[in-house]
Assembly symmetry: C2
DNA sequence: TTAATAAAGGACATATTTATCCGTTATTAA
DNA sequence: TTAATAACGGATAAATATGTCCTTTATTAA
């Protein structure tokens, strides 16, 4: 579904959002450890998220990554997915044809677009804030096993 | 969403199903041409579909691939996807964690499983027969642009 | 001003997916 | 029985995704 990069990116963003709620800036190492992600690979992904203005970063001692409190409620999963995997997940034909549209639909088109739209809506409706809150309430977990 | 192999596999299966409705056995070359797929790669995928008893093959002159008429209505997209991509699409955690279950859900779990189930149902409900019929009625197309 | 810290970024390494090539095997028709 | 045909299957190649390493740059605190 999502690329590994995207998976790590979402995990990292959620972790940063949680910590930022208590004004704690987190380092690359912390993020990688707490989200079970490879350190160096995560570094690249975080750079991309910074460039896309999803997370903020600060160099030097006491530096690290953060998400301004006021921002977490506005960041949607779709923003992260878009920054890392692009918009192919919303637009690509299920059978891999170049164009996907109602004009010349592939055999899967109508059934597939329903599923795709379902996914799109879910990603567009879900904010980092709400995911962080779930975790803080113990209803979900950022590290499994 | 699906691997390229799976995309080609679905395309090929639909094409074979259509031709088999008029008792025409099709060759690898025909399939590749009519579904815009790479010949040699498609060969491998067809082998896998044969082994999984989804399509039938016959060597030698007048040989080729076919799907017994009585079978097309019973073959579901899920069978093809399962044969090529396995069941990861139905089971894998959206954030890439090893186990996905309600016991220890990741932050995306509940929202993601809805989408995933949606996809699973679609694939399990859709038969090759109905996709072939859509094409024959001119409602969808197996070759685009 | 200096030393320590932490992200940024480029080059490189590995794994997986996608794709090709070619000899072998089975089948058919002449 | 022979020649032609078409799938089968193994080896290999190319492309992409995943992951590492190391040097540079910015920031901070002493
Ligand atoms: S054309 Fe294939 S999903 Fe739309
Ligand atoms: S645990 Fe992540 S989707 Fe179920």
């Amino acid at each position: 579904m999502f690329s590994k990069a995207c998976e790590y990116g979402i995990r990292a963003s959620i972790f940063i959002a949680i910590k930022s709620r208590s004004d704690i800036r987190v380092s690359l190492k912390d993020i990688a450890r707490e989200t079970d992600s490879p350190v160096s690979f995560t570094a690249k992904i975080l750079q991309r998220l910074v460039k896309n203005n999803i997370i903020d970063s600060l160099k030097g001692p006491n530096g690290g990554f953060e998400i301004k409190k006021s921002k977490a409620g506005k960041i949607r999963l779709s923003h992260i997915v878009n920054a890392i995997d692009g918009d192919s997940i919303y637009k690509k034909c299920g059978l891999g044809f170049r164009n996907c549209n109602n004009k010349k639909p592939c055999p899967l088109h109508y059934k597939f677009t329903v599923v795709r739209e379902n996914l799109r809506k879910m990603l567009e409706e879900t904010t980092l804030l709400e995911l962080s809150e779930d975790i803080e309430r113990g209803q979900s977990f950022l590290k499994i096993n």
